[in-house]
Structures are given as structure tokens and as C-alpha cells.
Amino acid sequence: MSIAHVYKRDHINTDEIIPARYLNTDDEMELASHCLEDLDGDFVNKVAEGDVIVAGDDFGCGSSREHAVWAIRGAKVGTVIARTFARIFYRNAINCGFYLIESQDAIEKINDGDEVEIDYENGVIRNKTAGVDISFNPLPDFALEIINDGGLLNHITKRQE
């Protein structure tokens, strides 16, 4: 069961996802314990494995800190669904093998606390609480290839073999 944590906001930035005061470590579990701290101090207490974050435009804007992706991944979040993503965050997620979903409608059709199920293969978010299906365009092939290889470094190593 995946619960949606919905933030009806644009420009949720890397300082809100993982404040710089915690960048003196790259330990994923430690970063995860501060995930979204300056946006929603209670997030780490309510998030469960496989849950999803839903937001508006430009999610992850700001710093190049991959720590933002690690904090979210470390908090066992399954995916982030946003209308759009900031460029470096998007790239970092792909490079880490972490799937992101771009959807224009999700923010309108999912309420905080709704139960969702994601069909990555067919590009469908099923909002089981509202009984609504929301389709999305799967990531482009080159990104899928990197994600399926388990991230950029595995992808490179594999290509060189």
C-alpha cells in the first residue's frame, strides 16, 4: 500500500528537501532522517516504505546536491510525482536509478493521504481512494536504460565490459 504525501506547491527546493546543515554527511540513513525537514517536519514520522510524494512544478530546484535524492530514497519513498522537475534533480535521480514521474494531473487528482498504486509499465497512477486512473508518459528510453542498469555508474561499467 502506497500513501500519497501531497504538497500543493511549486518550487520545492533542495534546501527544503535536505537542508545544508546536514550536508556534512553523505550517510543515506542519516540524510533520510531529515528528509523534507524544512517543508514538513512531520514527514519522516508519517512516511512508510513505498509511499509517494506529489508536488507541483519545478520540484528539486536549487542545489546540485544529490543528497536530496538520497534523502528521499533513504526515507524509502517509492517515487516522486511532480508536474515538472528541476533539471539537476531530475538528472541526479536518473543517475541514481530512482524513477520520477512527470504528470500534469496528479496534483489535481490526488489528495494528501490517498492510496495509490503505480503501474510503471503502462504509465498509470491508480488513485485507489478516489477511484481515478491518471496516465503518465514513462521516462525516455535512455533514462530507462540507465535506471534499469541500476544507475549511471553501473550503466557505464556495463557498456565498457
Binding site: D15, E16, D26, N92
Partner: protein, 420 residues
């Protein structure tokens, strides 16, 4: 159809005759910039994957800056990891404490930035180097690891937006005000995924330092890169700063190159700007927010911590006393020494400011000037996100060094023009 300067640089890096926006390329990297926050994790990744190598020990530039001198035990550990790696691979350009500085001020100053090259760095403000007619962009740690080991990275060629800076800046108005006006107009994702190309007569009048302030903040509009073409001002800077590799290729955009948008600005009409919390796009003319009480002024960072910025601030602070905590952070040791030699330290000391060692410091809420709950800071830095410089309930107001200095004197947001 012609190509933009960005497309030409990327075509060369990809070994192609031509590239078009949206095209995926494997680009050869000329320089990789490494600092203390994002590189240690990259090193660990390379070690874990068993590919602990560097593509070229002379094309990697290392400088701790974010938490240097080490602010706590954990950051000391980051520095230790960075140091051990740089020594193990005999990195040629490794700037240790005493020579290390805020990366985006240090690399151009030490002659590591050349036109026509592709530069990446594990820091979002790597876009700064575009001021030299180079393609430069910020990357995360995994990309940094790949770039360090292979000297190659995948890119999607960005579409370009053209920003025409017409007119001439009025006294008291600086490049920081221009870039805040640009971002106020297009928004923090107004240039998402794109290259921001700046042209125009107002730009031609700017020094390289002033230009770097503009390209530095391209990321604050969501851009992949910012770029400015080569001219005599660029050449003069490079002649002075380039050391070993003095050759470079100059590219310029074709007259029939394609832009996804063209934005014109009359710089003569721009006033000193202040970006209100909590987005860099919150810029308003100083007249709309003057009088707002501040608790701290911060003059430094990769955006405005260069010698020209310190001279501007000192020009206003000379013979005056600051009314609030004021922290001056020369961005590199060379700038620090220059400021000292020029007597700027005396001005700052007499005014009641504190002068820091070169560091990113409080710009990103690291240390050396963190804000308490409810405090407000007028800052020459680049971001005013929630919690950026300290407590989530603190506030950051972005402005030029002149506006920050004038505001320091009055203890509230002030129009620097009355001190000219």
C-alpha cells in the same frame, strides 16, 4: 539554420558537425571542478564500483570551500576523504586551505577556465564559467564520479534563450540588479533546461567579475547553463589569468541561430533590486522595500565575493559605522590579500564589520553567520529559500554589494544611491 554558441561548443565536444536542441550526446569534458560536499560521495562511489581512477589528473581542479576551514568533525571527515583522494591521484590543481577558495571565484582567477570548453562541477553554480564563452553546468555526485573516471558525460543539448541587455547601467545599479530583474521577470523555472545567452551593449560595458555574477545566477532561473560571448574584456582577463594552457577556441552564435525565446531589457531603467524571501524571483526595486529592518548583512559568495564587490562595499562603508552584524567574506585567498593590500580591511574594520576567511560559509547555511529564528539578512548571495542561511523561520533578502553595504549602515534595507 545556424547554431548558437552553446550548440557549437557541444558539437565540438561530441565530435559532431552539428547538434540540435533535444539531441542526446556524449560530450568530452575539459575540466571537472570538485569541492568538499559533493566530491567525497563521488569518490566513495568510484571506490565501491572498483573504478577508482581519474581521466586526467591535470583536468580536475579540487578546492574545499563549503565547510572550510572544517566547521565540525563530520566536515573534517569530508575534507580528509577529499584530501586522501587528491593526493592518491596526484591531482595537479589541488588547492589546500590557505590557497583554497570559493570554487567559482577561484577557478577563473587561477586560470582554469577557457572559452569554448566544457566544464562541469558538483555544484549548481558551475554555470558561472559561461561568462567566458564556455559551456559549464552543475552536476550531482554520480555525474561527477562518471566525469572524473571517464572524462565523458551524456547531455541533452539545451535550447537557447537570448537575453538582450540594452542601455547602460545607472550609478548604483550593478550586474546583480540586472540578473535579479531578469529572474523576477521570467521566474525561477523561466529558463528550465535551457541555456541563457546574454548579449547587448550593457553587457559589453561590464567587467568579467560583473558578468560572472550574471551567469552565476542562471541556475536560479532553472537554466542548464548561462553564457556570454568572447570580447576584448574577456581577452584581457584571460591574458592576465591563464597560466599553462593559454590556447583556446572562440565560438560565437550565428546570426541565424535559433532561440526558443528572446527577452529584451532596458538596463538604463533598472533600479537597485532586492529579492524578497523565499525565491530568487522575488526581486523588487529597492524603493518598494526600503526601510525594512535587518539583523545582518552578508557580503561574499560565488555571486558577489570578488575584489570588485568588496571595493564597491568598502566605497559605501568608508568612514561609516554599521548598525547591524556585518560579515565580509573575500571569496579567495588572492582576493583576501588584495583587499588587505588595498586598505579595504581597514575600512571594514573601522566600520565594525568582521572579515572572514574564504569560504561558502553562511551563504548555504553552513557556518560563519547562521541566522536565528525570525532574523533577517540582506545578502549578496544567490538563494533566499526557506532556511537557506539558518533557521527555517529566518529570512534572506538578495541584493548587490552596494545595497547590502548601504543597508548595513542603516540597519534596514536602504537605497545605495544616496551614498554615491
Amino acid at each position: 539554420m545556424g547554431m548558437t554558441i552553446t550548440e557549437k561548443i557541444l558539437a565540438k565536444a561530441a565530435g559532431a558537425e552539428k547538434v540540435v536542441p533535444g539531441q542526446l550526446i556524449d560530450a568530452r569534458i575539459d575540466v571537472v571542478m570538485c569541492h568538499d560536499v559533493t566530491t567525497p560521495p563521488a569518490i566513495s562511489m568510484l571506490e565501491e564500483k572498483g573504478i577508482d581512477r581519474v581521466f586526467d589528473r591535470e583536468r580536475i581542479v579540487v578546492t574545499p570551500d563549503h565547510f572550510q576551514p572544517a566547521k565540525d568533525i563530520k566536515s573534517a571527515e569530508l575534507h580528509k576523504r577529499l584530501d586522501a583522494w587528491a593526493r592518491r591521484h596526484d591531482i595537479k590543481h589541488y588547492y589546500k586551505l590557505g590557497r583554497a577558495g570559493v570554487c567559482h571565484a577561484l577557478l577563473p582567477e587561477q586560470g582554469h577556465i577557457r572559452p569554448g570548453e566544457v566544464i562541469v562541477g558538483g555544484d549548481s553554480h558551475t554555470c558561472t564559467y559561461g561568462a567566458f564563452g564556455a559551456f559549464s553546468t552543475g552536476i550531482g555526485s554520480t555525474d561527477a564520479a562518471a566525469a572524473i573516471a571517464t572524462g565523458q558525460l551524456w547531455f541533452k543539448v539545451p535550447a537557447s534563450m537570448k537575453f538582450v541587455l540594452n542601455g547602460s547601467l545607472s550609478p548604483g545599479v550593478y550586474s546583480k540588479d540586472v540578473v535579479l530583474a531578469v529572474i523576477a521577470r521570467i521566474g525561477v523555472d523561466g529558463a528550465l533546461y535551457r541555456a541563457m545567452e546574454f548579449v547587448g551593449p550593457a553587457l559589453a560595458e561590464m567587467s568579467m567579475e560583473a558578468r560572472m555574477t550574471i551567469t552565476n545566477m542562471a541556475i536560479e532561473a532553472g537554466a542548464k547553463s548561462g553564457i556570454i560571448g568572447f570580447d576584448d574584456v574577456t581577452k584581457e582577463y584571460l591574458d592576465e589569468h591563464l597560466k599553462d594552457k593559454t590556447d583556446y577556441i572562440v565560438y560565437e552564435s550565428d546570426s541565424d541561430a535559433e532561440y526558443s525565446a528572446i527577452e529584451e531589457f532596458d538596463c538604463s531603467a533598472i533600479e537597485p533590486m532586492v529579492a524578497l524571501p523565499h525565491l530568487p524571483s522575488g526581486g523588487v526595486p529597492v524603493s518598494e522595500c526600503a526601510g525594512k529592518e535587518m539583523d545582518q548583512a552578508y557580503i561574499g559568495s560565488c555571486t558577489n565575493g570578488r575584489i570588485e564587490d568588496l571595493r564597491i562595499a568598502a566605497g559605501i562603508l568608508k568612514g561609516k559605522e554599521v548598525a547591524i552584524r556585518t560579515i565580509v567574506v573575500p571569496a579567495t585567498p588572492e582576493i583576501w590579500k588584495q583587499a588587505k593590500d588595498e586598505g579595504l580591511f581597514d575600512v571594514f574594520y573601522d566600520a565594525g564589520c568582521v572579515i572572514s576567511a574564504p569560504t561558502c560559509g553562511a551563504c548555504l547555511g553552513g557556518f560563519m553567520g547562521i541566522l536565528a529564528s525570525g532574523e533577517k539578512c540582506i545578502s549578496t548571495t544567490n538563494r533566499n529559500f526557506v532556511g537557506r542561511m539558518g533557521d527555517p523561520k529566518s529570512e534572506v533578502y538578495l541584493a548587490s554589494p552596494a545595497t547590502a553595504a548601504a543597508s548595513a549602515v542603516e540597519g534596514k534595507i536602504a537605497d545605495c544611491r544616496k551614498y554615491m
